[in-house]
Symmetry: C2
Subunit: 185 residues, 2 copies
DNA sequence: GATTATTGTTAGGTATACCAAACAATAATC
DNA sequence: GATTATTGTTTGGTATACCTAACAATAATC
C-alpha cells in the first residue's frame, strides 16, 4: 500500500522519498553560515545565534540536524563549514534573498530595512520559477527603452502625489523618445 | 527586569504584550473559513480539512485555538463563522493573496496554478507596506502611458526569445506614442 | 424509528523549534 | 600554568502543528 503523505511517500512503513525540502528555519541557518564563512572564513555557534536571534543551545540542535542531512561539516567544539551540498542550497537561498530585496528596494522603492525584512521571509515562499521570472522582469524593465531607470523614478512621483497632480505625461513620453533616438546614434 | 523575547515582552514572568501576530497555519484557517462562508454561508470541519489538506482532527484543534483568540464563533458540533475581529484578519490575508496572485499571473505572466501556489506562501511573508507598494506599482504600470497592458505583453516577447531577436523597439515606441496621441483626443 | 453513513471530537503520539539554566570545553589573561 | 572569561553542549521543558485511531454525535436511509 502506497500512502501519499504531506511530507513523505511511504510504503509499508518505510520512507521511500522525502518530498518536502528544508524547513524555513534550517534554510536560515544555511544562509547565515554561508554569510559568516564569507566574512570570517568559518562560522561559529555564537555568531550564528546572534545573527538569527536565538540562543546558543538552539544552534547546537540545528547544527546536528544539518550535519545529519550532510549539509554542514560539524564536530562538537569545532568550526562549522558548509558541505558542497549545503553550499548549493545556501547560495540558492542567498540568491533569492538578494533578488527579492533588489526588487523591493529598487523597483518598488521600499526603504532598505523594510525591503530586507520582507525579503527574509519571502525567500522561503517563492519557488525557482517565481524568482526566475522576477529576474527576467527586472531585466525587461532595464532593457526596454519605454521603461528603464527613469520610468522607475517616475513611480515615486506617481505614488507620492495625489491623483490630480501626477506630472506631465506628454513631456515624459517626449523625453523617452528623444533619449531613445539619442542612444541609437 | 524586562526581557525582550522573540514572541513576547515579559516582566517577572508575566506576559505584558504579545508581539507576533497569528501563525501562518492559523492565518490559513481564517482565510479558508472566509472562503467557505462565501460559498456555503457557513464553514464545516470537513470542508476546512479538505481545503487545507489536513485531517479533521487537526481542524478541531485549530478551531479551539481560534475561538480562544475570539476570531471565530465555535461550539462543538455546530457551524463555524468568523467573528468581526476574525473577518478583518481573514479579509486582509485574502486581499494579500489576491494581489500577489494577480501580480504573478498578470505582470510576471506565470501560469495561474503556479501563481496561486506561490501567492499562498507569499501572503504570509509580505507585510502591509510591501503589499501596498505592490498595488501602487501595478496601478502605475496601468496608468503610465509608457507602459500599460501592451508593455506587459511585450514581456513575453522578451523572455521567450533569445537575446538577439527581441523585436523592433523603434516600432514599439512609435506605436506607444501614437496610442497616446490617439487617447488624448 | 432503528440502522448505517457521515461528520466531528478526543486521546495519545511524533517532529520541529525554540527557551532556560546547568554544565563542559576551549581561549584569554594574569 | 592557574584562574577567569568565553564559547559550546546538554538536559528538561514549552508551544505549535500535525498525525493515527478510537469514539461520539449528527444526518441520511431503509
Amino acid at each position: 500500500m502506497v500512502v501519499i503523505h504531506n511530507y513523505l511517500l511511504m510504503m509499508e512503513g518505510k520512507v521511500l522519498y522525502k518530498k518536502a525540502g528544508l524547513s524555513e528555519s534550517l534554510e536560515d541557518y544555511l544562509e547565515t553560515i554561508l554569510a559568516l564563512e564569507k566574512n570570517h572564513k568559518v562560522a561559529r555557534v555564537k555568531d550564528i545565534a546572534e545573527k538569527l536571534g536565538v540562543l546558543r543551545g538552539s544552534v547546537t540542535g540545528a547544527l546536528k540536524n544539518l550535519a545529519e542531512k550532510d549539509l554542514i561539516n560539524y564536530e562538537p567544539y569545532s568550526f562549522i563549514t558548509l558541505t558542497s551540498k549545503g553550499a548549493v542550497i545556501a547560495r540558492e537561498i542567498t540568491r533569492k534573498h538578494t533578488i527579492i530585496k533588489n526588487f523591493l528596494q529598487n523597483v518598488l522603492l521600499m526603504d532598505p530595512k523594510k525591503a530586507d525584512k520582507n525579503a527574509c521571509r519571502m525567500e522561503h515562499a517563492m519557488d525557482r520559477a517565481a524568482i526566475n521570472r522576477l529576474v527576467q522582469f527586472i531585466e525587461y524593465i532595464q532593457y526596454c527603452p519605454r521603461t528603464g531607470d527613469d520610468w522607475i523614478s517616475g513611480f515615486v512621483n506617481y505614488y507620492s502625489k495625489d491623483e490630480h497632480d501626477r506630472g506631465d505625461c506628454r513631456q515624459c513620453i517626449d523625453d523617452c523618445v528623444s533619449r531613445y533616438n539619442r542612444d541609437q546614434d
